[in-house]
Symmetry: C2
Subunit: 322 residues, 2 copies
Amino acid sequence: MTTATATGWATLGLRKSVRLVEVGLRDGLQAVPEPLRTEDKVELVRLLIAAGLTEIEAVSFAHPKVLPQLADAAEVMAAVPRTNGVRYRGLAPNLKGVQRAVECGLDEVVVVISADEEVSRRNQRRGTAELVAELPEIARIVSSAGARLVVAVACSFFAPARGPVPRSEREFVVDAAVDAGADGIYLACTSGQEHPGEVFAGVTDTLDRHPGLDLGVHLHNRNGFAPANALAAVAAGATWLEGSFAGLGGDLWFPGDPTVLGNAPMEDLVHLFDSLGITTGVDLTAYLQVVKRAVELTGIPSTSFVTRGGSRADLATASWPD
Amino acid sequence: MTTATATGWATLGLRKSVRLVEVGLRDGLQAVPEPLRTEDKVELVRLLIAAGLTEIEAVSFAHPKVLPQLADAAEVMAAVPRTNGVRYRGLAPNLKGVQRAVECGLDEVVVVISADEEVSRRNQRRGTAELVAELPEIARIVSSAGARLVVAVACSFFAPARGPVPRSEREFVVDAAVDAGADGIYLACTSGQEHPGEVFAGVTDTLDRHPGLDLGVHLHNRNGFAPANALAAVAAGATWLEGSFAGLGGDLWFPGDPTVLGNAPMEDLVHLFDSLGITTGVDLTAYLQVVKRAVELTGIPSTSFVTRGGSRADLATASWPD
């Protein structure tokens, strides 16, 4: 049965579909202290594909000493099924990482550049302008390998120990990424304290400057506003959203409980769009198997609501107690 | 410091202010197995007023055998400060309760009528039409006492064991309430599985039928969409929202963990509107004292995000670790 209200997406002025990009294997697992085995990661990838995910950030090429959890990038990529229509993404922190990424046969390489200078220096040990200057060379390498380049604009809206990030700083990175020929750009809600007003404004501004840009929003959820931010992003024209199974995720430079600053739980995003009648291609019931397995493997409970309170369909089909 | 983005409310087309109605002492405490002492409730009321709340649902006149947690309604009302500008609300389940409510000097009497017939019978042991038929007499009693009548339309959008509630069933109750002369009406997200599309549509429809109506939305949060629903409600023209300290709340006819189907945590609503630069009159820091005390008294942790991840202002003013 469907429990979507026919007027859902229409009344909010939303599109009928949105793409969901899974970042649990990278942004999620990098927050989990104990590395998972390569075969466990591959199992999660298989479950993700079975649930309908077609864009999967599977690996990172960060230095193994920095992120031992993700040291097996090449092994993961050698083992995952190269199913038709599934696009694998890897994060590359620098030129060397980009080279490794294309050698591993990634379909998509993500380069992260923080709009906030301080976060860039603390998180990547290099300034924003320095990272931006490398974009043309990165674009050449990625393009030569027949892969897609995605530029992630970290701290697009808000930065820790600072507050709102001026629009001009975000635009500096976005414009450079467009100039370098990025195939996609996403604005990241890195701090988890972003609100839907600034997400809406940021996506609108970006698309006004660069009409037709394939623009995503990467959601964290320190404040619980991620579902609202997701809708604001889609309403403003973003074409994809990023989340993680079980809401897994953390914060490298602001350490704490990894469940506090998690990524947006993907299962809640799927549930949100299901409720609204917006197509994602992801099956919630099958996705909950990913979540179940991820929780077993990591030992970290999901931060999502749907894993606790059930789905709209569950409640609609529940029986009254006698 | 302010961490609101200037463009927050404007970009979402929202008003500059919204009223927040506290229901923790009623809808929250009725889900807590162990009754609080009258003096503890009065302390919570004082803390609420100190935080800037001016509309407080403090008591219920349900039968003491059904809700022993709320049996001390008269004692609570005799003890709370009758501060200028603070409006006390009490819930009355029937004519007798309405009479008791006005005798206690309530400023506002709430009568709940479920749009969904099955929920009405299970929760109130009477059908929707039967409850609606009493509205004119209730309105006369409340009006004669100089109080305000608020009609709560339970299951305005979605009902357990059923799914979406047809618009005509909600309109039947809303129209009857308007005809009876209700001073305010709220649409209740009773199941906690409501989505922002239907909230937006429901508020819009109601105001189209009854322009100028003082219309609120009562938020539960089984699915985590409460902040999105809050914004959808305000965007559609609702003038007030209802939440509970610590997200306290439960479900009388669908029992389970009282933290699963909680009311929307008021502290997250305050944080949301603070972030957007929308005025509520409530001070977040002071409100967190209400939450702290409520958690001490009930032993039930808050379900809110801001109590775990801190506020936007906290993160903006945090210091980098050395």
